[in-house]
Symmetry: C2
Subunit: 442 residues, 2 copies
C-alpha cells in the first residue's frame, strides 16, 4: 500500500485490520466466557464481526433494545448525511430501517402501497393495480411487483432514450398512466432511480415527483448505487425534489465501505409499513410494544428475525467520519474520470453515455457505418475478462452493445486504471488487426 497516492482514499490497512479484529475476537470470547455474569434481558452495546459474533436476534424492541435504538440512530445519521427532509427521520415523524436488499425494501414499500390502496378500493381490486418504472429501472422492481401479487401484465417499463440521458420523461409517464386509467386500471406505485445499474442514469425527482403527486401514487426512489455519492455537496442536487417522495432506499454495501448485506430504507409514513407487515401474536406480546413508544422492526420488514446490521453501518460512519467517506466517493469518481479521459483520448473508442458517477460506459467504435459493433465489443469484453486480470460487464442500450467500467473496489488505485486501459488497448489492437486481416463479419 506504500505506493498509494495521498489524494486517493485508503479504507483498509491490513495490519491494523488484524490487530483491531483480534481485539474484537477477545471481546467476543470474553463475552461468552462471562456470559453467566450478564443479565439475560439487557443487551451489550458494542462491528460485521461484532454483529455476527454476538448473534443478536432483534425482532422487536424488547428482544434487543440496543440493536433497535442503534438502528434508529444510525438511520437518522445517514438521513442527515444525505440531507433528507426532516419528515424522513424518526425525529420528524418518519423513519428508517436496514433491509438485506433493495428487493426487500421495494417488496415492503410495494406491499404498504398496495394495502393502503386496497383498504380504500377493496381486496378484489388487486388485479387492477399498476406499477411504473423505466426500461432502465433495476429488474428488482418487476420481480418485487410480481412477488406482491401485482398482475405481471400491469407492470410498465417506460421506454427511455438518449434524448433524456436514459432518464424517465415526465410526459411519457403521464401518457402511460392516462392510458391505464382509460382502460380501468389504477396507478399504484412509481419508482425513480438515482444512478441506474446499466448506465448510471438519474431520473429527475422534481419532475417525476410532480407526476406522482398529480396521480396520487406512491413514489419510491431507488438510490442503491448513487445514493452514497449524494453525501457530497456537489452531488446532492440529484436528490432535489426528495420532498415529493414517499420512500427512498440506498445500499451502503454497494459504495459505502459496508459489507453485504445492508440496504437503507426511509419512509415518510412508517405506519403504512406497519399496517401492512405487522403481526402481533401472543408469543411476542410485551409491555414495551404495547406502550407504542418503541419501534418493533419486525413490522418494517419481511422476516421476523433480523441481523444486527446497524452495528456495521455505525462502525463505518464512526471509523471513517463523513469527511473521509466523501473522500472515498470522490477518489473513486476521480479514477473513473481518469479512465473516461483515456477512452476519449483514443479515437478508436467512444464514451457512449455521459458519465455522472464512477461508471464509464464505452465501446470500440464500429469500423464501418453499416456495422453496429456489437460482435466486436462482445469479443473485446470476453478477451479482457478471460485474462483474469479484470472483470467488466456489458449492457445493451437501444440496441447498442457497450462495456461498463465500474470503479468501486475497495483497493482500486491509479495504476490499476492504467493497467486496465493497457489491457483493453492491447486486446483491441489484436482484435482490429485480426478483423482487418480476415475481414470477419461484424
Amino acid at each position: 500500500m506504500d505506493s498509494l497516492p495521498k489524494d486517493l482514499f485508503n479504507p483498509l490497512d491490513t495490519e491494523n485490520f488484524v490487530d483491531e479484529s483480534s481485539r474484537v475476537l477477545e471481546f467476543i470470547a470474553d463475552y461468552y466466557k462471562n456470559v453467566e455474569n450478564y443479565p439475560v434481558r439487557s443487551q451489550v452495546k458494542a462491528g460485521e464481526m461484532l454483529c455476527t459474533g454476538l448473534n443478536v436476534v432483534g425482532f422487536n424492541w424488547i428482544s434487543s433494545p440496543a440493536a433497535t435504538e442503534l438502528e434508529a440512530i444510525v438511520m437518522d445519521w445517514m438521513g442527515k448525511m444525505l440531507k433528507l427532509p426532516q419528515s424522513f427521520l424518526f425525529s420528524g415523524g418518519g423513519g428508517g430501517v436496514l433491509h438485506s436488499s433493495t428487493c426487500e425494501a421495494i417488496v415492503c414499500t410495494l406491499a404498504a402501497a398496495r394495502d393502503m390502496a386496497l383498504n380504500e378500493l377493496g381486496a378484489d381490486k388487486i388485479t387492477k393495480l399498476v406499477v411504473y418504472g423505466s426500461d432502465q429501472t433495476h429488474f428488482t422492481l418487476q420481480k418485487a411487483s410480481k412477488l406482491v401479487g401485482i398482475n405481471p401484465n400491469n407492470f410498465r417499463a417506460i421506454k427511455t432514450s438518449t434524448l433524456t440521458g436514459f432518464a424517465l420523461a415526465p410526459d411519457d409517464v403521464r401518457a402511460t398512466m392516462e392510458a391505464d386509467l382509460a382502460s380501468g386500471l389504477v396507478p399504484l406505485f412509481l419508482c425513480a432511480t438515482i444512478g441506474t445499474t446499466a448506465l448510471g442514469a438519474v431520473d429527475s425527482l422534481e419532475e417525476i415527483g410532480q407526476v406522482a403527486k398529480d396521480y396520487k401514487l406512491w413514489f419510491h426512489v431507488d438510490a442503491a448505487y448513487a445514493g452514497s455519492a449524494c453525501i457530497c455537496p456537489e452531488f446532492r442536487l440529484y436528490l432535489n425534489g426528495i420532498e415529493l417522495v414517499d420512500s427512498i432506499s440506498m445500499n451502503p454495501h454497494k459504495w459505502f465501505l459496508t459489507n453485504m448485506d445492508c440496504c437503507c430504507l426511509w419512509v415518510k409514513n412508517p405506519s403504512t409499513l406497519v399496517d401492512s407487515l405487522s403481526t402481533s401474536p401472543e408469543i411476542l406480546r410485551n409491555k414495551a410494544t404495547e406502550s407504542k413508544k418503541v419501534v418493533d422492526y419486525k413490522d418494517w420488514q419481511i422476516a421476523l428475525s433480523r441481523r444486527f446490521r446497524a452495528l456495521k453501518l455505525w462502525l463505518v460512519i464512526r471509523r471513517f467520519g463523513v469527511a473521509n467517506l466523501m473522500e472515498h466517493i470522490r477518489s473513486d469518481i476521480k479514477l473513473a474520470k481518469k479512465f473516461e479521459g483515456l477512452v476519449v483520448e483514443d479515437e478508436r473508442f467512444e464514451v457512449v453515455v455521459p458519465r455522472k458517477f464512477a461508471l464509464v460506459c464505452f465501446r470500440l467504435k464500429p469500423r464501418r457505418s453499416e456495422e453496429d459493433g456489437s460482435k466486436l465489443n462482445w469479443k473485446l469484453l470476453e478477451e479482457v475478462n478471460s485474462s483474469g486480470k479484470a472483470f467488466m460487464i456489458h449492457a445493451v442500450v437501444d440496441g447498442t452493445f457497450l462495456i461498463r467500467c465500474a470503479i468501486g473496489g475497495t483497493f482500486t488505485e491509479e495504476r490499476h486504471i492504467d493497467g486496465l486501459w493497457k489491457l483493453i488497448q492491447e486486446n483491441a489492437a489484436d482484435l482490429l488487426l485480426f478483423k482487418n486481416g480476415c475481414n470477419i463479419e461484424d
Copy 2:
C-alpha cells in the same frame, strides 16, 4: 467450562475460538494484501467470519461458482442427514437453497404455488386463492400470505385442541377446504409444522399430506425448530410422510449451532420457484446460465444479491460431524427432560402439553378450580424475567396461560437447569404466600 459433565455436549471452547479465529483473520488479511495476485473471475474456496470477511456476492453461478457449488453440496448433505427422499436433492432432480428466514422460504414457495395456479386459472383468480395452516402455525405464514397478495380474508388458521396435542386434525382440514370450494374459492397452499413455536406440537405429514394430495394443493412443511432434531434416528419418525410434501424448510440458526441468518429450503420441483422468481436482464446474461447446467440462486430467493451462508453451515457440519450434532440435540433434550421431571415432582406445578423436544410448557396450577391461573402465572413469569437471571416467554393456548422453558442456548448445563428451577420455585413460593395472605383475585 471445567465443570461440564461428560455426557453434555460442549460446542465452543472460548480459548480455541480466539486461536482459530485469529488464523481466519490472518487469512482474510493475506487475501486482501495479495488480492492483486488472484484472478478476478475465480473464487477462493474457504466460517461466519469467513463468510463475512470475504464479502462474496453470489447472485448467479458465474459471479461466484464456489459459493453456488458449496451451497448445493451442503444442501444435499443436510438433506441426506434428514433422510429426505432423493426427490428433494439436486442429485434427484430437486434441490435446496439457503434463505435468510422461514418467512423468505414461505414467501418464495407461496409465490411459486400462486403462479403455478394462476398460470392455469388466469391472473384475475388471485382473489380466490386460499392458504391453510393451524392456529399453532407460525404467524409468518399469515404475513407471507398477505405479502404475496392473497386476500387476507382467504387465510385459514384451522383450530387445534388438546385432543390432537395441538396438531392439525385431517378431518377439520378437509371440512374447511370443502366449505371454501363450495363458496367458489380455490385451495392453494397448506402448511404443516414439525415443532410449533408455542408448544412444540407436530402435525402428521402422512395424514395431512394425504389431504393435500386429494385437494391437489402445494404442501409445505415448516420444520424451523424441530427439523434439526430429525437428524437423530429416534426423532426421524416426525418426517414420515415427507414424500407427500412439495417443500420443507428448517432453520439451522435455531438449533443447529449456526449463527443467524440461515434457513434451509428444499423443493421437489425447483423449476416452479425459478418460473416465479427468475429475472434475466441483459446485464446478468452469461454463457454459464444459458447452458442451463448451473444453478443461479438469485432465481430461488427474493433478493438478487446473497450472502455466502453455505460456508457457515459447511463449517458447522465439517467441524462437529453428524455424531456430535446428534449429541448436541440429545444433550439439550436431556436437559429439557430433567426440567420436565422437576416440574412433575413439584405438585404445585403441572406440565400443560406433552414435551416432544427441548421445550417444556408448564404452569403453576390454579389454586381453586374456578380460577384459570393466568394472572398468577403471568406474575411468576414477570418475577423470574425481572431477576435478569433467566428469560422465558409465555403462550396462551385454549385460554390457558402457560410458561415456556426452551433449552437451546449454546452453553446451557445441568447446573443452569437446577438454578432456574430454584429461581422459579422461590418466586412461586413468595407469590403463593402473598396471594394466600392477601387473598388477591386471580
